[in-house]
Every structure is written in C-alpha cells, then in structure tokens.
C-alpha cells in the first residue's frame, strides 16, 4: 500500500485501522458473532448490560469471546428512557468494562426508537463532568449536534434511519450539513444502515466511520456480509479522499473524438 492510502483513524484518543464499528447482538450463534466480527475487520465492538441470572457466579461466555477478540469495547445504554437511567447504566458499564467510553442512548419514542434530544444533552453534561468520553446516538438535527458539541462531545453519532430498519440514509442532506458544520468532530453514522452501499454513501459524505449491527447479523451469511462491509467502508473512505468528480447535465464522451473513423464522414 502506498503512503497516500495509509489512513489511521483517531477517535476519542485511540488509533484504529478500521472505520467500521460493529454490534455484537442478533447473531445466530456466539461462534458466528465471533467469526463475523473478525471477518469485518472491526476493531470497536458495541456491548450492553442486562440483569444477571441468580447462580451465574460470574460465568459469562459472551464476555469471554469479546475479551478473546481483543477489540475495543463500546458499551451502550440501550433501553434507557431517562437521563438518570442512562447515567446509572453508564456508571455501571464503566466499572464492568473498565472503559470511560459510552455510546449514550436515551430513547424518546418507542415506535421508532428515536433518541430524546433533551435527555441526551442532560445525560451528556453529567457524564462528561464524570470523566466519560460520550459518543451520543442522536437524530440528524443540526442544532442538537451544536448543543452536544458545546457540551464537550468530540464524536457525534447521528442516525441514518431508525435502529434495525435497514432503510439506509433517509436524509443525506442533513448528514451532509452536519459534516460541513463540524469539520473537526468525529462523525459516525449509527443505525439504519442496511447494505454495504449505504455505508459507502455515508463514507462518501465525509463521515469518519459507520456503526452497524443488524445489517450483518441478520444477513443470510453474516460472515460474508461482515467482509462486504469491511470493503465498503474502506472503498467509501478512499472515494471520499480521492474526490468524486462533479456531476454534469450533458453527456461527455470518454473516448477521444479526434480521429473518429469513417462512419461520421458522410454526415
């Protein structure tokens, strides 16, 4: 690989080769989860916390696999509906996973799992004061992005479309504006990605990374899809860096017109 194509990604103080972040849920089996994460090349994996069963004695095969993979874990606050719930979950996650990174989710609507912007800001303020690095899952709202940046977030994760919907980027315009307005923040499209071409689109908009789960876990062949996303994110990033040509209304021949042979001479 030539030097121009080297493209380390620095986010929240850590450096990575892959710009694909992947979820650990919904896979047909723990083995497929493990193989898919490896095939995707993702170095950041999202995890969650749920009630432990009585008599568990701390056995946790899932967590053993994640540790074995040696990835950076990004705990989430999935399922929280208030700032207080999210703050408590984040505190618990920091102790369990030994990280101050938190994917902050505060759900405001059960139908489309849309984040609650007000509770998100409230929780973000508290968690940043507590020393967390907050990666907020948010709607693609420009003013919300500004408020979160003002609060101290250096990474923002607007949705492409609702979680698990696979609808891709519903509103590329708003994502593009957020990119333009916050050139120095790390921006990740989180949620709604359904297929590799959606990831390419996000990366071509200049987003720094993509976070997805259902798109690989629910594919017919999760491992193959993990690999497809690995290449898509890489291709999208290269495309963005290479600079896409300007679109034109008129056709323009790509083959030289000089020296065009005989069939034009009688016109």
């Amino acid at each position: 690989m030539n030097d121009k194509r080297k493209d380390k990604w620095k986010i929240e103080g850590k450096e990575f080769d892959s710009r694909l972040m992947i979820g650990s849920a919904l896979y047909p089996s723990p083995e497929i989860m493990k193989n898919t994460i490896q095939a995707s090349g993702a170095e950041i994996v999202t995890v969650a916390l749920r009630r432990q069963s009585e008599g568990d004695k701390g056995n946790n095969p899932f967590w053993d696999i994640i540790k074995e993979l040696g990835v950076t874990v990004l705990p989430n606050t999935a399922g929280c509906h208030t700032a207080k719930e999210a703050i408590t979950t984040a505190m618990m996650a920091r102790e369990v996973f030994d990280t101050n990174w938190i994917k902050l989710e505060v759900i405001g609507n059960q139908y489309n799992l849309q984040p609650d912007p007000f509770a998100l800001i409230e929780a973000t303020k508290v968690l940043i004061d507590e020393g967390f690095r907050v990666l907020p899952y948010m709607t693609d709202d420009l003013v919300l992005a500004q408020r979160l940046a003002d609060t101290g977030c250096t990474t923002l994760m607007p949705w492409g479309s609702p979680i698990g919907s696979g609808r891709g980027l519903m509103n590329p315009y708003t994502l593009k504006v957020i990119r333009k307005q916050f050139p120095d923040l790390q921006l990740i499209v989180d949620a709604g990605i359904g297929k590799p071409s959606d990831a390419i689109e996000a990366m071509e908009l200049g987003f720094d990374g993509v976070l997805l789960n259902s798109a690989v876990a629910l594919a017919q062949d999760p491992m193959m899809m993990g690999e497809a996303f690995k290449h898509a994110v890489y291709a999208g990033r290269l495309s963005y860096r290479a600079g896409v040509m300007q679109t034109r209304d008129m056709a323009s021949p790509s083959t030289p017109t000089v020296g065009t042979p005989f069939w034009h001479q009688f016109k």
Binding site: G23, S24, A25, L26, Y27, M33, T46, V47, A48, L49, R50, R51, Q52, S53, E54, G55, D56, K57, G58, N59, N60, F62, W63, I66, P75, N76, A78, K84, E85, T88, T89, M91, M92, A93, E95, V96, F97, I163, G164, N213, S214
Partner: protein
C-alpha cells in the same frame, strides 16, 4: 427478615447484610457485574459498607450482546 426486589424478583433476606454478603449468598458473580440500588450505581468499593434495606430495589447487571 426484610423484603427486597433483586433483578425484578421479590425476595426475603436476613436484615443487616451488605452488598458483598448478599451477592455471595445468592451466588451472583461479582467479577463481571455491577450493582445499582434504587436505580443509583453502587461502586465495587462500596459493597462492604452498603447495607441492604427493606424495600430496596437491587439490579445486578453483567455484559451481554449489544448494538
């Protein structure tokens, strides 16, 4: 005896137990778990000094798959 809710189930336990003693009695692992009482986080270093009270709601969480 006092009555508490632990991970959503009501339980009668002896009075005066701290968190460490409670987890040990109920066979919950503390290696990869974290505790909240009445929706407020309790850190590992507070386990021995936090006494469980009647009607407390205790959540013990551990790592699971997440998106």
């Amino acid at each position: 005896m006092i009555t508490i809710s632990i991970n959503g189930e009501m339980k009668d336990i002896e009075e005066g137990l701290n968190i460490k003693e409670l987890l040990s009695k109920l066979d919950y692992g503390t290696t990869w778990g974290a505790v909240a009482i009445n929706a407020t986080f309790v850190s590992l270093k507070e386990y021995e000094t936090t006494i469980i009270k009647d009607r407390d709601t205790i959540d013990i969480l551990s790592p699971v798959q997440g998106g």
